[in-house]
Structure formats: structure tokens, C-alpha cells
Amino acid sequence: MSYFRAENLSLRFGGLKAVDAVSFAVEKGEILSIIGPNGAGKSSIFNLISRIYRPTSGRIFFEDQDITEEPPYDIARLGIARTFQNIELFENATVLSNLLVGRHRHSTTQLWQELLFLPSVRANEKVHRRRVEQVIEFLDLEAYRDKPISGLPYGVRKVIELARALCSEPKLILLDEPSSGLNVEETDDMSFWIRDMRRELGVTVLMVEHDMSLVNRVSDRVIALNYGRVLAMGSPAEVQQHPDVVAAYLGA
């Protein structure tokens, strides 16, 4: 059995088939990239996995459990974290509080305990903060730690989103265009982090990406998508030479 599996996933918006009978599997510890032209349905697949959208048909399995009907907040609890193509940070909070929200799935304290800030809450907080501090160090975010998000540059926000996802100690992480809007250096950093994430933290990565050099550097396998359908699947080189993929990118 695969670690993560999508079976015959479909999503329709009225007459538009955003995702059309897509099936794929992700192995544990793998880095799998999804590529495809604009509007191919890549983000829609992520939104199906994180249950922002409900699939028209098809099923999703994670660690042999059917998660198609799970409520959205339980997806994170199962160990699937994500970033967003358009950055969804908590604008009016500091970087530190943003990252601490990432710890939410590990919080065990009750409301009344928190109102009194009992020693158990304090102890939990320290654990959360230690973990967050490790992620801050891992992604070099020390300089921004106490700054509010509003006012931070785009590139930094991208990294903070990644950090927030990592703070939840995910088993599987979904990255929607991690390098969009980053300059060459920042993209380099991103490629190192993605590989370190797998090596040091044991995270499995599913990534949507337009930057082919980044895709080639980090991915084990690639899936190419167009008009919601899978065109090709295989090693980065295989997929990029596939005639259908070439045609799709040339707009034929």
C-alpha cells in the first residue's frame, strides 16, 4: 500500500472539469512534483487534499486511512500541512505567533486551564516555543521573529509560510509553488530546505512548481497535468521529454 494515494479524483466547477479522474500515489520519504500550465488544476488538487473543496468523485487515502470525508481541520491533525500559492499568513500577528499557530494540532490544554494559565499550560507552551525556535533556526528567520507580518517582504513571507507548516511537525507537506516570487538566491535556499526537510525531519513532500530547475534538482518523480488530466508521470527527465507534455507547454 502507498503512503498517500489519490484515486480517480474529480472536481467540477459548473461545466469546468478542474480536476478530471486523477490518480497518483506518493511513497513515504518521496519528493513528488506536480507541473502543468496555468489553470491545469494543480492548486485544485491541493485544495481537495486539504478539504477546502469537496471532490465531485474519487477518494483520498493517507497511511491506509480514507480521509476523503474528514473535516478540514482534521487533515492537519493527521499530519498533513500545507502552504498556499497566494500566501495566507495571519497578517496582524507577529512571525512568532504565526508559527505558534502551526503548533495548534499539538495543543492538549483545555480552555479553563488556559484562562488560569496553569502550570500544565506553561509547560506545554515551553515545548511549543522550543519547537518553533528550532524551525526558526532551520530556516534562518531569527531576524524577523518578533516582527508583524504586515510590512515583511514577499520572499520572507514565503519562508514564514513554510516555517508555519513545519512547526506542525507534518508527515506530509504540500507546497504550492514554493519558489514563485523568489529571486535566484532565495530559490536556491528553498531547494536546500526542501531536501533538508526530507533528510533531517523525515517529511514527505508533494509540491506544485513552475520553476523547472528547482523541480529537476529536488524531485524524485514528476506528474504533468493539463486541463485537469494526468499527461505523464515518471522521472523529471522522462516527463519533460514526453510528447504530450511538450505539446501542452507549447500550447499546441
Binding site: 486539504s50 491533525r77 500545507r82 495571519f90 495548534h104
Partner: protein, 383 residues
Amino acid sequence: MRFLFKTDYEDDIRLFPHSGYVVSYGSLFAVLLVAPYVLSSYLMSQLVFVCIYATVGVALLILTGFTGQASLGHAAFLAIGAYTAVYLQQFNVPFPVYFLAAGLLTGVIGALVGFPALRLQGIYLVIATISFAFIVEEILARWESVTNGNEGMRVKALSLFGTAVSRDSPAFYFLCLAVLVLTIVGTLNLLRSPTGRAFVAIRDSETAARSMGVNVALYKVKSFAISAAITGFAGVLFAHKLSFISPEMFTLQLSIEFIIVILIGGTFSLHGAVLGAIFIVMIDPFLTYLKDDMPGIIAGVAATLGAGKERAAHIQDGIAAFASLNGLKGAIYGVIIVLFVLFEPLGLYGRWLKIKLFFQLFPLYKRATFKRQKIYVKSERNR
């Protein structure tokens, strides 16, 4: 300037980040403790109202400022707290019991209001909470067997541990102050725990909050319940202070006053709720002063500046007529709301922070320090 070196996670968790806070809050507290033995009874009365309004302000701040759910129905929560207390008084229930019962019942009703509110946002939520408040007002007026209808209810004097506590006594003021302080401490505790952060996350991006594992519906209901419960507690004190309650005391105007409390104070800060409460409570004496003394003073000034006797009297009449215009208070509220929303969205507390920073950085302060960068990336697609 002060530089903080953090060496422990405690440094981020602590309520008072450094010794300066202990000194300033300590002295404020000392002033508040001696206040009843120094201030006139009228000002003491106003101070009690400041405590009650600030408590409601903090409650509203939790719901609106931190969770991002607007409410124009808090007068109704205040009413439910007040009426529960007075109703239970008839059966000789002791104060601690009816105080807790009023808070709990209001909290439960708050949660019930929270459920239908889950599907509503922005202006629709405002309309829904207004409707809720109207329904409550109507029930209070009609359910005569319990609420005595429009006749209103007399509130028996508070008795605590067998001794009567007059509503003008220092003891009553200390009770209100204690409730306010406990509310603030509880809220600060919440803000440094997962629940408070979940509230803020919901305010800024429900989508992201959800994908981080926050059960958005549950936390919204929690926020409604907490906010309502605190307002219910304040309602009990409100009833005691007024010694008489009737439905027309808990109208939309009162809910608007609560909104103004947090709007003027600053929608993100607890300090703001207190500043806003001081403002809203003091505007009444200020208007009275305007009505009674201002015309005479200005006429006097005009006279010394060489205006004729007739002219001075004319000015005096004009100002007196203006100051006693009906609806002047409402108009002032309206102007205040508009001005604050336009020019000082962070409220009085935001203004204070700017002034403080100006002196800390002097002479290096830059005018653009607080200018927000505009970044248009947020997607409206997955709301």
C-alpha cells in the same frame, strides 16, 4: 531606549516583559486603590461605570478585536446577566451564586447565538446580532411574569458574606475593579495560549487557520461564549450599580457605545478597551458641562474681548441652544466613529504608542514609521 535580551522561553510568556511594566502598573494600581478615599462621590460613581464598561469592552474585544466577529448585540448579553441576577435575588440566592449563574447562562446563550452566526460574515453578522438584541429586548418587555415587563425591576442591595454592600461604597468599587482585573488577566492568559492564537488566526485567515488544524466553527462558538459570559458578569454589576433595571436601558444605543469603546481605544489592545471606557463614561459629564458652563464662559470671554452686552447674551443663548440639541450625543458618536475609522484605526492606544516611540527615538523618528506597506497578494478565491 531599552534593549531586551531574551534568554529563556519564559521571557516571551511572562505577563510583564520587563521591570518597567511592574513599576508603571504597580503605581497605577496604587492610585486605583486610594481613589475612593480621595475622589468625590460623583467621580467614584463614574469610575465604577468605567470598570463595568471596560469589562464589557474587553469581552467585545475578544470577539471582535481578536476573533474578528462583529457584534452589535452586547447590550442584550448585559441585559441577560442583569435580569438573571435580579430574578434569582427574589429567591434569596446569595450573591456569589447568582453572579456565577448569570455569567454561565449568558455564556450558554452566547454560544447559541454563535451557532447560527457561523455562516455569517461582516455586515450580515452585524445585522444578525442586532436582530438578536431586538428579540431579547422584546422578550424582556413581554415576559412580565419573570421580568415585570416595561415596569422594570428593583435591584436589592448587594450583600456579601452577610454584610450589605452599598452601590456607592468603596467595597462595591473594589468588587468592580476586581472583576475587571480578573477579566484582563484571564484574557491575557488566553492570548498566550493556543485558544487565543486560534482566535487571532481565524480573524486573519480562516482558510489558513483551518489548514493548521483549527476547528474554526468550534473556536468561533467558544469566542462568542466567553465574550457573552464576561458581559453577563458585567451585567450583574451594572444592575447593582443602577439599582433598577428595565428593558429600555439595554437598547441598540448601548451596544453602539460598547463598539465605540473598542473603536476609540483600539481594536487590538486591552489598554484600548480601558481608554475607550473612560472616554465613553466621561462624555456625559462633559456634555453636561458643555450645556451648563460653556455658554457662560464663552460669553464672558466674548465680553472681555469687547463684544457688546447684547451680543454676548446672544452668543450665550446660541451655544446653550446648540448644547441642548436633541441627539447631540448621537451625532458626536457618529462623528467620532467616522474620524477614528478614517484617521486612527488603531485607536487612542495606537496614538499613545506612536507618541511613546517618538520620544524613545527622538530625534530619529521618521514620519513613515507606522505607514503600512500595501501588498496585494491575498486571494479571495478560497474564502
